[in-house]
Subunit: 375 residues, 2 copies
């Protein structure tokens, strides 16, 4: 059996390991937290810091292949491992490009990939000088994650919220729709594309933050998005799975927002709604099997289960039992003991032929479930 | 989080634990073999003998609930645990009835459940005296598993193949079709029934040993089978999941063959082909959640991947990579290092609207995949 390691043991690692148990593979996880969601689901758990050179190098040196569930890892160690013949998927060069938002932006422009116009700032003073560029989004080049490290700068009054270090200042784009495309690349360069998904924010219905598949976009926009996402992924020249987040403007322009070179929140629905899930696909890539079928079995909606504002402590899922009665809804709770405001505690995928049915059930779950703390 | 234990760490345990990772639950496994398919997928692996009183009692005494993946466990210990307030699912009384084939048969007749007529033998001499009852099937009362402990006695010449201990001698039934029904019973007695599956043995097409869902049987037969399976399960008065295997005779008679009070080979297709799989369902029962939706997303075929005759040693899956290209086929390899003739090494489920497509792909996999050994 091949020995394959994952850097990071969060929910993405957890779902990767659920899928791994369909294949003959010996699994390793490197992660600081021995109670992380994925820690108990591997053959070999190694406690250690994924950002530390020695920890990553020693973890990887006897493995056949290694992958990530988060970008914030020691890339130097991965480069050393790659040189020594360990299959590193995605290639460390991709991580280097993507994990720094300045070099990620440069990558898009270097390859003529449409993206919001931007400039770099190195400190607050430089940010303040760019008032002609406002309204804009200020994004810290390194270390941001899950909403952290991003600030909207509407005008001069917002400047103090900016970052006093290398950052990308991006023109605020008029976004009509937000979509994402997952693309898998095999070890021989073969490619499989999942149907586009759409992030839905419907404020009038108080339907917030869920994701619809297939995306409700015009065919012309769809082809444009697919071509852009493909160009983005192909130029990395690396096997792996990639999530390309895209903005569609009211004028039908398509711009790349961000790319993640790993399994991603916008692919969670593929577990039940598609023949080969993003997690299954990663094992097919790592084990050098043929890519899976990315088609949908049925349309789907996916929503995240988030820790409620004002609650920190031992997690309690209020309303869960009632909602588990909903047919065709698949709950994934990540087994995190502690909740805190905004923490991703799980997700739900609903599958159905009928869009009305999907939206109705998503709304019911959105309003019926609260992750609070015991005290 | 509730603490739940499983007795046994084989492939059924493995798939139970894959499903467990969707819920907030702390998992425990008791199993002799530290390299068993489920050993690495739980929070706490305890090495020990599931047939030993102390091992089972000590394993279970601090758990909230305990279940099984094989019947051959220490029932006395489970009874002690149940008295002390541990939820034992299924109830130990069910295990006592089922694991002894003589008492299982008595259970059917006591509850007017149709089953092949039978008598008991205590030794070979008693078997020899029953020649008027031949052709018959001789089944050892305790300890048989997966085909072991069963002999067909066509005539006197076969008598030496019989068992010299308490056994059931069952009239050989003319079987036209073999079907199975999975039934889930919640902690409050609520019931959910999966559609019937059919075991297909088509010798003319050389299509052997696969399972079709839904079963291809007449509606009248279906209702009869469902009523019989329900009667079988309801009279146990126990929560749990149950597989009822049934024979349909050429005259349309339906007879119970055997019942298993646990997840079962004939429910594997539910992982991809049904909204709530048999494994998901067990966690819903154990955690006292509402039962899941047993309906099929699509029709399916399931076939077992079996160690090839003549090969013992480190397993190699010849033909696997080519077959992994087949769309809509889901492979489950149990990660057993060693193959031997007839050993269950994995299974494949194919889902499709078209029966022809299902059968064609099943046949392709059946003939394209060989589990052999390296040497």
């Amino acid at each position: 059996m091949q020995k394959v390691g994952i850097l990071g043991g969060g929910q993405l690692g957890r779902m990767l390991l659920q899928a791994a148990a369909n294949y003959p593979v010996e699994t390793y996880v490197l992660e600081n937290d021995a109670h992380a969601p994925a820690a108990h689901l591997c053959h070999h758990f190694i406690q250690g810091d994924i950002r530390d050179y020695d920890a990553v190098y020693n973890f990887g040196k006897d493995l056949d292949a290694i992958t990530i569930e988060i970008e914030n890892v020691n890339v130097d160690a991965l480069e050393a491992l790659e040189k020594e013949g360990v299959k590193v998927i995605p290639h460390p060069s991709v991580l280097r490009t993507i994990r720094n938002k300045a070099s990620q932006k440069k990558y898009y422009t270097d390859h003529q990939i449409p993206t919001a116009s931007y400039l770099l700032t190195h400190n607050i003073q430089e940010l303040a000088e760019q008032r002609a560029f406002f309204p804009a989004v200020h994004k810290i080049a390194e270390g941001g994650y899950d909403g952290r490290g991003v600030q909207i700068i509407n005008d001069e009054a917002d400047v103090p919220k900016g970052f006093d270090t290398l950052s990308v200042l991006e023109k605020l784009v008029d976004v009509e729709k937000e979509i994402a495309m997952m693309i898998a690349v095999g070890q021989s360069g073969e490619i499989a594309i999942y149907p586009a998904v759409q992030m839905v924010f419907d404020k009038t219905l108080n339907l917030l933050d869920f994701q619809l598949c297939p995306a409700d976009i015009e065919e012309k926009t769809y082809w444009k998005a697919e071509a852009i996402a493909l160009t983005t992924v192909k130029n990395f020249n690396s096997p792996g799975i990639f999530a390309v987040e895209l903005f569609v403007t009211p004028g039908g322009e398509v711009l790349v927002n961000e790319t993640a070179p790993r399994v991603h929140n916008s692919g969670h629905h593929t577990i039940e709604a598609h023949y080969s899930s993003q997690f299954d696909m990663v094992w097919r890539i790592l084990l050098n099997y043929p890519l899976g079928n990315t088609e949908a079995v049925l349309p789907s909606v996916m929503l995240n289960i988030i820790g409620k504002e004002g609650y920190s402590g031992d997690a309690v899922y209020e309303g869960l039992e009632e909602l588990l009665k909903i047919e065709n809804a698949f709950f994934h709770l990540y087994g995190k003991r502690q909740t805190k405001p905004g923490r991703k505690m799980g997700h739900v995928t609903i599958i159905s032929k009928e869009k009305t049915d999907l939206l109705h059930k998503a709304n019911k779950i959105k309003h019926g479930l609260s992750v609070i703390s015991r005290n």
